[in-house]
Symmetry: none
Subunit: 412 residues, 2 copies
Amino acid sequence: MKSAILTVGTELLFGQITNSNSVYLSQQLNNLGIDVLYHYTVGDNPKRLAEMIRQAFADCDLVITTGGLGPTQDDLTKEIAAEMLNDELILHQDILSKLESYSKRANRVLTNNNRKQAFLPSRAVRFDNELGTAPGFALEDKGRTIICLPGPPGEMTQMFEQKVKPYLQEKTEDVIYYKIIRTFGIGESMLETELKQWIDGQTDPTLATYAKEGEAYLRITSKRSTLEEAQAAVDDMIENINQKIGQYIYSYDGEDLYEVVGKKLLEKNISISSAESCTGGLFAKTLTDLPGISAVYDRGFVTYSNKAKMEELGVKAETLEKFGAVSEETAIEMTKGLKKVTGSRLCISVTGIAGPGGGTEEKPVGLVYICASLDDKIICKEFRIRNISRSWNRNYALLCMLDMVNRLIDQA
Amino acid sequence: MKSAILTVGTELLFGQITNSNSVYLSQQLNNLGIDVLYHYTVGDNPKRLAEMIRQAFADCDLVITTGGLGPTQDDLTKEIAAEMLNDELILHQDILSKLESYSKRANRVLTNNNRKQAFLPSRAVRFDNELGTAPGFALEDKGRTIICLPGPPGEMTQMFEQKVKPYLQEKTEDVIYYKIIRTFGIGESMLETELKQWIDGQTDPTLATYAKEGEAYLRITSKRSTLEEAQAAVDDMIENINQKIGQYIYSYDGEDLYEVVGKKLLEKNISISSAESCTGGLFAKTLTDLPGISAVYDRGFVTYSNKAKMEELGVKAETLEKFGAVSEETAIEMTKGLKKVTGSRLCISVTGIAGPGGGTEEKPVGLVYICASLDDKIICKEFRIRNISRSWNRNYALLCMLDMVNRLIDQA
């Protein structure tokens, strides 16, 4: 199957937002074995939108649109999709009722614009929107399929995952199986070099490397006539890869590092607390992104000022004076103090220079000390993060913290 | 002038990289008063590339391409651009000499593919590449202009900034001026309804509304013959808008709410500390995204467990037992305790149910209490956030916290 992705939104043409929908959909479609030939982006202009859909169908049998399904009068994707695939919009009473009760709860008036969202092409396969008001749908005509999805990435990705993927899987013949391998501590180009023999000679399974803020990851995909064959091909490749770069791998299922760490903490019932300076709560925030983590996460301190480090964690004034707030000594005292205050089995602290200001020749922006203890074991490491930006530096420090915790738990 | 941006690269269609070139060029072109009608992305396929250029010129007088100028045989953008604009490639001897000496230095053989980079359309305005080997160029024919730039973002942006911008400025007459107005507490469709009279009758300045996680914002754009005229038109419109929805506006310069709050805290030198339960450090993390905030941000507590709420903030066991951790009473005690521990002028605490689990009929997921104090003034509010997802709920609670702090500071 050949496809085009068409994202609708003036804000994209103004450069106000990054086109994350095209990235996500490209990955997903490729994972399903569907070739992506084009990305198109157009504003809220019906004539141009229609022209693009027409052009896409010259080469493709599938067009996926995002955006333009909302309540404003500029939102015309649905109307145009119906017209081009010879269909008409009809009212879905249950959607209208849902919109009405939602407006009532929110103490808002249901405008005519809002009402528009309850209309869909008559032959459409409907995809309900559990996170927003605009439903998505698939519509077929003469071997051409158009799938219209909402623009907000959260709504779009959930709808794709839960509804569009099964719908598309039924349409494809070969079975696709893939695994996403997540790594930390190895760059994308080094990863590519290490795995060159399989990337270059790839027919099936195929290997592709991707870069993500501070991380590199791998997708291994096999397209076979049965699921068993595809799985076996991917598993064999994973064995090869493990021998080359196993020490950098933290997940074989595409999970984020914080999820891997959080789940292990829950599984092994290890209590944890954190004390952060340069990351300013990013570690606590990220770990508590995981639902249910309250069973093991006790508390966190954001000891931004020196006073807070002394009062909350008992860091000594002399230590701060002699070695500075950003030092191995301070990090160790933070973790020891945290342990004393909380009694948590796992304690982790971080102190560093996030930038852009505050760096010196001796202690440059990006210098970070992380100290973690598990029961009686304590380790402290210095990191010199390549200074790219405050947000990059903080995020990289977070990954270093999670990586350290992950390895500590594995040794427990 | 009307333009299309055409990015060439298979890695974009695989979703391996984000299309940052389109974002950058869209911003730059809009700032120059050049409308962007389309983004196109295509792989290394000459037929499709030619088809896209042809389609773009149906509506546009300017097409900017990135990518496909490199040394491999797949790189064909230049050849196709020349063909479509009725020109031929000719050898630039000085580029070839540069390539030859570069290969020599790198101890490499100059292949025929490499040599390809020394050829340009005969009528092209050449843009030398100071960071890489592939030069860019502009080519005109019968009122149509194509500008071909290299794909690597670093090379492309430097070439645009130094060479393409002056080239385009000479071609444009009008001046563009715009403002981004950020709001909180009003939805996008309500915003549109309130401003309908100006959105519908828009010629200049134009108004456009956008939605962003939990927020709606507005872009007001004027295109006039002088900067003064454009500024005056935008400023007049802002006065109108202020009268309608002024109470929801927190920025007239596109700044994020946390930036607005952080800058006010710094400007007024108001010390601040935070205590978080359901947001798990998100408030602390977000406020400390701002460089220099350490001058006023003292510390934060992530009191996730009840034990932590009692030990760190002095919340009474009876309060937690009688009213629960998610209650007005607990929020107030958290803030009072925080004030006692830190002495910060501004203290803010939050407790709520982020979900997906933990909700009851009486206390559903999305129920949040936020309590803030500034000097002797203390306020506490209940929020019932529409439960979309854990991450949405936490983010919306964060915005409510920032909004409360912002209004408190304004009253100080």
